[in-house]
């Protein structure tokens, strides 16, 4: 029997020493490599018209935009291929002057032909970016009078072209190489993308990582500090934090719940303040609002029943602030001169909520389904939905939680198969043009099926914005839209979210920027 025990001990010893020998110390990251751990990638297709949903930072490293932005989202002449742009007096011809001497990663020079090709390709039928549709309807033609000049001709006068083709929205403005794509085709391009950005593609293992390598010198950032940039997909938060502690990654997404824990250990936290508004809405019926939410009093009651301050404090760890305007993207407020006054914030008043429900004849409550799901950037989604449902229960509404994943909710929303039921999204904050783009999708009746508002007055105001080129008039209209969204309680705004990113202790300062779905890693890597 001693032999058996001896064998067992030997086995155990072998396993243990195997572990220790192979593990080695957690190697500190040499400063030439940057590794980022994310909870989700986009579609994992590295082709601009097909990728960039919700996550586009690796694309922003590989490709240049026609129009660049500062980290704060302001259009900038330094960040994009266009060194300047101007419009004709009738706002139907937009001319962009291109930077000279920019090369793609395969050596080809970037010319106006590439810009024209890219834009047409990015807004083509194959595109799945969010703003291809409106651009397709708007753009009549693109001319290339010189190798460094591009003219975009629109069917109607408009102000939106530079913003829509900039870094601040989606990927429509990413410039891709015409000759290369035409010679190898779309599929090969998606597998081996070539752009003109500061980092070129090295390898991708779907479900695992994307690896990029720096070019020697780039007009955007000089000589990049990091020779390689790797984006790793790590779905589980515990693992992301463990990787940070081990020094294997430099930047991680961390949830608001755990940020204090990580902060206490001395890891610098970067916040993108008011990165998104968490806003809820009622699903419409085929012809408009259906059910108790048709009554303005019910909508107001449902807003009054929620203790936003408490939700911000507890569920979001204080990294959130109560919101007052449904679909209210706060970065656009100052652009259009909209002032959110304190009285616009809904107080927590369940008593008044109950009274309003009684006035509406619903003293005994009604049935309400609340969809509960998680979203990228919103791991607290289900908790929040449960909490809000709980508040509504307290004023007599009989809620039922429907846990789904986002695609299932989106289907119910678009199909209008669950009218009167409630869903939500953390909508990325943006400037007024981006805000208009969002309102045009979600607050405009003609935009079936994504509309959530169905209000004739707002329809009128938004359709005028579309045709307006006078900023003052646009601002007035947008202010009107926001005002009415609030006064008619056309949604349930919850909080503005601040998003934390934890970095390794040696990373240094960093302005992660406040551009939708983008993190300014190029600022971090800048050698300027």
């Amino acid at each position: 029997m001693r032999r058996v025990s001896a064998l067992v001990s030997v086995f155990v010893l072998i396993l243990a020493s195997l572990g220790l020998v192979l593990a080695g110390p957690g190697s500190a990251q040499p400063k030439t490599e940057l590794t980022v751990a994310l909870s989700s990638f986009s579609t994992e297709v590295l082709d601009p018209p097909l990728g960039g949903h919700l996550v586009k930072y690796y694309l922003s490293m590989m490709f240049d935009y026609l129009v660049g932005t500062t980290p704060d989202g302001q259009l900038s002449r330094e960040g994009g291929l266009a060194t300047r742009w101007e419009s004709s007096p009738d706002f139907k011809r937009w001319t962009f002057y291109l930077r000279k001497g920019v090369k793609f990663h395969n050596g080809d020079e970037v010319t106006a032909e590439d810009v024209k090709f890219s834009i047409m390709r990015n807004i083509g039928k194959r595109s799945t970016t969010g703003y291809a549709g409106p651009l397709r309807t708007l753009i009549a033609d693109i001319e290339t009078p010189a190798s460094d000049r591009v003219v975009i001709i629109t069917k109607e006068p408009t102000l939106i072209i530079p913003t829509y083709l900039s870094r601040s929205l989606s990927t429509e403005g990413m410039i891709t190489p015409k000759k290369y794509i035409e010679s190898v085709g779309d599929d090969v391009f998606a597998r081996k993308p070539i752009g003109s950005g500061p980092y070129r593609f090295v390898e991708q293992v779907t479900g695992s990582h994307i690896k990029l390598a720096a070019v020697d010198n780039h007009w955007r950032i000089g000589t990049p500090k990091y020779k390689t940039m790797t984006f790793r997909l790590v779905p589980e938060e515990a693992t992301r934090i463990a990787l940070l502690r081990r020094g294997e990654v430099d930047v991680v997404e961390v949830s608001r719940d755990r940020v204090k824990e990580v902060e206490k250990e001395g890891y610098p936290i970067h916040y993108r303040r008011e990165e998104a508004i968490l806003t809820m809405w009622w699903i419409l019926g085929p012809d408009g609002r259906v059910g108790p939410s048709k009554d303005k009093r019910v909508r107001e009651a449902m807003n009054l029943a929620i203790d936003r301050a408490e939700i911000a404090q507890s569920i979001f760890g204080g990294k959130a602030e109560p919101a007052a305007i449904p679909l209210g993207l706060s970065w656009s407020f100052k652009d259009v001169g909209f002032k959110q006054t304190p009285d616009m914030l809904y107080p927590y008043d369940p008593a008044r909520a109950k009274k309003l429900l009684a006035d509406a004849g619903l003293a005994s409550g009604f049935n309400l389904d609340v969809y509960a799901y998680q979203l990228p950037g919103l791991p607290e989604g289900k908790t929040m939905a449960e909490a809000v449902a709980g508040y509504w229960e307290k004023v007599g509404i009989k809620t039922r939680l429907i846990p789904v994943d986002y695609p299932a909710f989106r289907k119910a929303w678009f199909d209008r198969s669950a009218p009167g039921m409630v869903g939500y999204f953390n909508i990325a904050n943006r400037d007024w043009i981006g805000a208009y783009a969002l309102l045009e999708k979600q607050a405009y009746s003609a935009s079936k099926p994504s509309d959530t508002v169905n209000d004739a007055e707002i329809d009128g105001m938004l359709s005028q914005v579309m045709r307006q080129t006078d900023r003052e008039k646009i601002n007035t209209l947008m202010r009107g839209v926001y005002g009415r969204l609030r006064s008619e309680h056309l949604g349930v705004p919850v909080v503005y979210l601040h998003s934390p990113y934890a970095t390794s202790k040696t990373l240094g300062s960093w302005n992660a920027g406040s551009v939708m779905y983008d993190l300014f890693f190029d600022v971090l890597a800048s050698g300027k």
Binding site: E44, T206, L243, R246, E248, D405, P407
Partner: protein, 306 residues
């Protein structure tokens, strides 16, 4: 032997055919992938175009036949989400799952053997009961919890081992152990009860009477007989490890088949869902076939059983 083999292979093909129908129906029941692929501003026309372009507007029977036809040539279609051939995606991920499963299996066998044999030999003692409880623990704890505890403490705080991803042999240890512990319990119990039965048999009693050295009795005579069900179950467990490691893959960021299936289901990516389930079933079939052959070789009576 050959007839046996042929019969088994044919049976496996029938099984795969059944599964292909089931998964085809199930995949399409999950919903419409277009809601994820197309942007919010897509019009009805865009939906119709996309449907036609992706071949989703053809009658179901036609879609199924085309799916099966191409699958037989190894073409599993194109992933709706990644726009790449599904075969390629599987080719990238399957080896990772296999490697992890092999590692986990090795660890489990290394642990189960001594535990099982010892528990049988020292039956009824505290050692036996402790061994039983320790191994049964492996089947009494939710996998993800064990995995997360290991990541939090062993990787994150004490920093003994890597937390995730595939980066050298040491990355296999935590996920391999998590997966393997579950198997250790089953194998250990089998070994223990198998050994118990044999140790009690006439054959062994006779050997003891003849004065054969006790160690030989245990390791040479008893163990060999106890091995048969262990082989069977090692096979089954291996197949399970490859195909249901999705929880471990999620926690340890391991790019394997399980994760691919999860992403496929989340994005309603029909080709991926179909291909992964079929691959899974094929693996199970192959492993079972192997086990049966091994079995038939060991015990000739099986070859001629019904």
């Amino acid at each position: 032997m050959l007839r046996f083999l042929v019969a088994r292979v044919l049976q496996s093909l029938v099984v795969l055919a059944i599964i292909s129908v089931v998964v085809f129906v199930l995949a399409r029941a999950t919903g419409d992938p277009l809601y994820l692929i197309l942007p919010m501003s897509a019009s009805q026309e865009d939906f119709d175009n996309a449907r036609r372009y992706l071949g989703l507007d053809r009658p179901y029977v036609e879609q199924y036949l085309s799916f099966v036809g191409r699958a037989l040539t190894g073409d599993f279609g194109t992933s709706l989400r990644a726009r790449r051939p599904v075969g390629e995606l599987i080719g990238e991920r399957l080896p990772n799952s296999l490697k992890l499963a092999v590692f986990a299996m090795t660890v489990s066998l290394a642990m189960a053997f001594p535990l099982g044999v010892m528990a049988a030999v020292k039956k009824g003692t505290g050692l036996d009961r402790t061994a039983q409880i320790v191994s049964v623990l492996g089947q009494s704890l939710p996998t993800f919890w064990v995995a997360i505890l290991l990541v939090e403490f062993v990787a994150g705080r004490w920093q003994w081992l890597p937390a995730g991803g595939i980066d050298g042999l040491s990355s296999y240890i935590l996920p391999g152990f998590t997966l393997g512990w579950f198997v250790v319990a089953g194998l250990m119990r089998l070994l223990r009860s198998g050994m118990l039965e044999v140790l009690d048999s006439e054959y062994v009693k006779l050997a003891r009477l003849k004065g054969v050295d006790e160690r030989r009795v245990i390791w040479m005579h008893a163990l060999r007989n106890a091995l048969i069900p262990v082989v069977t179950f090692a096979g089954i467990y291996f197949a399970i490890l490859v195909t249901t490691a999705i929880v471990v893959e999620t926690v340890f960021a391991w790019p394997g088949l399980g994760r691919l299936a999860y992403e496929g289901i989340s994005s309603r990516d029909f080709p991926v869902i179909q291909a992964v389930v079929l691959t899974t079933a094929a693996i199970v079939a192959v492993v079972n076939l192997g086990v049966d052959c091994l079995y038939a070789l060991i015990d000739p009576r099986i070859r001629h059983a019904r």
